[in-house]
Symmetry: C2
Amino acid sequence: MEQTDQVPGTPCLFEDLPGFGTLPEAVRRDLAAICRLRTYEAGQTIAQAGAPSDVIGVVRDGILRLQKTLPDGRQHVVGLLVAGDMFGRLFDGPLHFPVEAATDAKVLTFRRAAFETILLRSSELDRLMLRHLMDDLDRARAWMIILANPKVRGRLAGFLLLLCRRFHRVDQLVAIKGPTIRLRIPISRPDLAHLLGARVESISRALHALADDGLIEILLPDLVEIRRIGALAEEAGEPDLAGPALMPDHGAGRTASG
Amino acid sequence: MEQTDQVPGTPCLFEDLPGFGTLPEAVRRDLAAICRLRTYEAGQTIAQAGAPSDVIGVVRDGILRLQKTLPDGRQHVVGLLVAGDMFGRLFDGPLHFPVEAATDAKVLTFRRAAFETILLRSSELDRLMLRHLMDDLDRARAWMIILANPKVRGRLAGFLLLLCRRFHRVDQLVAIKGPTIRLRIPISRPDLAHLLGARVESISRALHALADDGLIEILLPDLVEIRRIGALAEEAGEPDLAGPALMPDHGAGRTASG
DNA sequence: CGGTATTTTGAGTATCGTCAAGGCCAGTGG
DNA sequence: CCACTGGCCTTGACGATACTCAAAATACCG
């Protein structure tokens, strides 16, 4: 379903996206030529599984949901994409997981065939894609570790820390207010429950339990303030993240170096 | 810790590894020149996290464990590598997860710098690496779905199905005996418990519960016979896999097409 | 055959899933 | 403008499941 009528003249800037700025100018020009900016509303489907999937996408703004559609119609969230993240399968068949907009979102899309042509001629773009995929893989594994926590409290704590680590430069999701961090939870309770392998009620109870123990404060259902991040990390079973790693300014800002 | 004394003359065949056989002969020759076959015993460390990680590895034989070392010394298994799987970070820093041999194993190693040089000149090898990473990513996500199952029984069922799907052409792990499948569980109970986010006792109980209900039969602690694979898939919450997809001969042998 | 590690079983408790009900908010239609 | 509706979040009570601690049984190895 091509939306060719969608402001084809949009400049399609991507120099500020991580990695793209350092590409050679020729490559950037080629990419700009096949690039198109699209806007989606929350809940809209961006790419379907099994469809031809002729497109490679880069999130520019907002949050996307990577999900698995179960045969009974239920949808299982299997990942979140934020600005700079990509989706689409290069040199390969259809997507294995459909993509939906979790919030209003802007997405840069490239026609797959053309993108692959450029890829074959630019080792820089190639390296960018490799690094991207390797990072995705590590993130998926980090998520596995969170999910492997036996208790809901621990999984939830790990999820909150993941949000801090990963989304601290996105939108207004993470705001550092002195010693505490204010955090917006970008998905609904039902989705979060699916993601963490629990029921909505358990999520609610676990969140309020963390609040009762003073680790966090619930300002709104989807807005929490993290008060004792060390205790939260311990709860998550990742004491190595308890220290400085989280605050973007206070030290090695690398991802889990485990 | 270079083991240059390790039979340097070994031919290092990799033509039969998935994907490598179709590479141009020049690329294969270059790869063979920097390739070295190494042998590890079960439990041995193959690559450490944080270390320079100057090596790209391809599993030739046996099973490797990708794990996260927790600060308290416990080790959390985050993935299993079998013949054809790769590890190592291209154009990037150290590994994020150490690699250990789960069984006696043979591994093909390439010096990273040299491998990257070849990569820059061969778009075919590049595509191979991209596909490899995309497959890894999908597998990690499939594992996330398994881990998100609220009940241990469901997670265990999903794990057994994953073993069937993924390892059916590896070693003697999976043997199809008429209507049933005989399956070797390649990791210990403590590792399995960590992997599935449960305790050893819960794993044991869940396994025997599946046996009591006739879905499987436990021949040895690490050898089970799957009797009702459809029921097992339903237990795992993946009815779409209940059908033909599992048996390598009876239809589309693709990975989950979710 | 004996010793050790692994796996299994048992009993008690904590946690979580399930069912049910209530509150909050946004959108709809009178 | 206001009642109504439906989705989402929360709370409560109860039963099922899983974790904890402890001990027994089994498999593994010399």
